[in-house]
Assembly symmetry: C2
Homo-oligomer: 256 residues x 2
DNA sequence: ACAAAAGTGTTATCCTTACACCCATGT
DNA sequence: ACATGGGTGTAAGGATAACACTTTTGT
C-alpha cells in the first residue's frame, strides 16, 4: 500500500492535465440520521477535503466530474450538476500546509510543482444513494467516508464554503432537483420522504399537508404496508413513478 | 489606430495571465425595443463575440469580470453575477478560423500561441443601464455595440449558447435579481416595468394584476404624472425605494 | 382499552386570475 | 362626446396552513 502510493507519487505526470483548473465534488447522501457528505482525509494531514480531481487534456470538464465521482464511489451515471466556480486567488493554497506536513517527496517533485500552482475550481454537486456507494480512497488519501453534514470535520482550503454553497443551491432548487429519487431507497414511507425534505429545508413541515400535496402530484406508486412491529398504524411503502417524476420535475414540483 | 493595434499585438505578454481560463460577460441592457446584449466584432473576422478577457496572476476571477465590464462599458460597480462555467473541449477553438483569417501576425507570435490553447470559460451576466453605458472597443476589436437579443448576429464559438444560458438564468431567478433597478432609468411608468418583465419572461402579463402586485410589495415611490401628449389618462412615474427593494429581494419578489 | 402514528377531512385565509368599471387625457 | 389607455374593484377558483377526526397497530 505504501509502496504503491509512493510509486504513484513518483510517477505522477501532469503533462496530460489542464493546468490551474480543478473540480471538487460535493457528494450528498441521506439516511435516517440526515444528510451526509463524502469526504477524504489526506495522508499525514490534519484536515479533510472534498473528493476532487483534475481535467485531462482532451477531456470535457463535465466528464472529469463523472470520472471523479465514479472513482470515489463506484457509482456510474449519477445525478451530477455544476453549481459554482471558485476563483479567488487566496482559496487557501497547498503551499504552506502541504510542504510543512512533509507528506510529499521533495519540494521540486512534479506533484509538488503541480499542487502548489494557483487553482480555479469548479464545484459539482451529486445526489447518491449512500447504501449503494462504495467509498474508495485514492493513492493520496488515507480514508474516504461519509460524514454527517451537521457534524462535518474541519475541511481544508475553502471546502467548507464549497459545501455551504452546494447546500444553498440544493435548497433553492429543491423543486427542480430529483432529491427524492436519488437520495432515498427504492421503497420508502411518506415519513421518510418528509424527513428528507425537512433535512434539506431545515424546517418542519406539516405532516398531513405534506402527504396530500405529494400524493396530489401523482408520481408515487403505493405498495404494501410496512409492518414495523411498532404499536401504531403501519405506513404504506411508496416508490417513484420515474416517468411521471421526471416529467413533472421539468416544470417544478411546487413546494415551500 | 492601425499602428497602435499592431503595437498592442506585438507587445502582448501573457506571462501575467492565468493560462487556459477566460471569462465572458453577457451584458444585458433594455430599452423600449426590448432586451439587448453588448457584443464585439473582431477585426477581419465574420463573427461577433461576447466581451471577455483573461485573469491576471494574483487577480480574483470576479475582479477580472468587473475589470472587463468596466473596460467595455465604462460602468463601475455594476450588477454582476457568475452563472456557469463552460468546460467542453470543443467549444469552437480559435485555431482554424483565426489563422485562416490572417488577422494576426504569424503563427508563432505570443498572442496566437496564447489564443489557440484550450480555454475553459466562466460566464458572468451583468444588468446595466444602456443609456449610461459607453461601449468601448479594445485593441483587438473593430466595433462594440448593443444588439437586440431577438435579432442577434451570428456569434463565434459557443457564445450563442452562453447567451442562452444567461437568459435562462435571469428568467429562472427573476424574483431574486434586481432587474428593474438596474435595467430601467431612474423614473419609469408601470407599463415600462411590465414590458421589461414581459421581455424577460417572454409572455404577456395581465396589466391590472401586475400593477396591484407590484404596488402591494411596496418598494415603489410614486411621483408626478407623465404627460405624454397622448389622448388618454397620463400614467404616474415611479422610482424604486432602494432600501426596501434590496430588503425584499433577499426573500424573493414572488412572481410568476 | 389505550397510546401512538398513519391517513383523511374540514375550514379559514391568502393568492391568483379574469374581467368589469371608472378616471384622465387630447381630439 | 369619444377613443384610448391608466388605475382600481370584485368575484371565482385554487393553493396553503392549521387543526380535527378516523383508522390501524401492538401492548
Amino acid at each position: 500500500m505504501v509502496n504503491q502510493s509512493q510509486d504513484a507519487l513518483k510517477n505522477f505526470d501532469p503533462s496530460f492535465l489542464v493546468p490551474g483548473q480543478s473540480i471538487d465534488c460535493v457528494i450528498i447522501g441521506y439516511n435516517e440520521m440526515g444528510l451526509h457528505i463524502l469526504v477524504l482525509k489526506w495522508k499525514g494531514m490534519a484536515g479533510w477535503i472534498l473528493p476532487g480531481g483534475f481535467i485531462g487534456i482532451g477531456e470535457d470538464m463535465d466528464a472529469a466530474a463523472v470520472r471523479v465521482l465514479e472513482e470515489r464511489t463506484g457509482l456510474k451515471l449519477p445525478y451530477l450538476k455544476q453549481f459554482h466556480t471558485f476563483g479567488k486567488v487566496d482559496r487557501g493554497n497547498f503551499n504552506a500546509e502541504l510542504v510543512e506536513a512533509d507528506m510529499l517527496p521533495g519540494r521540486s517533485s512534479p506533484i509538488i510543482q503541480w499542487l502548489t500552482q494557483r487553482f480555479i475550481t469548479t464545484g459539482y454537486l451529486s445526489l447518491v444513494n449512500m447504501k449503494e456507494s462504495m467509498p474508495t480512497p485514492d493513492f493520496l488519501t488515507e480514508r474516504c467516508l461519509w460524514k454527517p453534514l451537521n457534524d462535518l470535520p474541519d475541511l481544508m482550503f475553502d471546502h467548507r464554503q464549497i459545501v455551504q454553497t452546494a447546500i444553498a443551491e440544493i435548497r433553492n432548487q429543491i423543486n427542480y432537483m430529483p432529491v427524492g429519487i436519488n437520495l432515498l431507497p427504492e421503497k420508502f414511507t411518506m415519513r421518510e420522504l418528509q424527513s428528507l425534505y425537512e433535512s434539506i429545508l431545515e424546517r418542519a413541515l406539516e405532516r398531513s399537508n405534506f402527504q396530500k400535496k405529494i400524493l396530489r402530484l401523482g408520481y408515487l406508486n403505493r405498495h404494501e404496508k410496512k409492518m414495523t412491529g411498532e404499536a401504531h398504524k403501519a405506513p404504506f411503502l411508496y416508490s417513484f413513478d420515474g416517468d411521471k417524476y421526471n416529467q413533472l420535475l421539468g416544470q417544478g414540483l411546487g413546494f415551500l
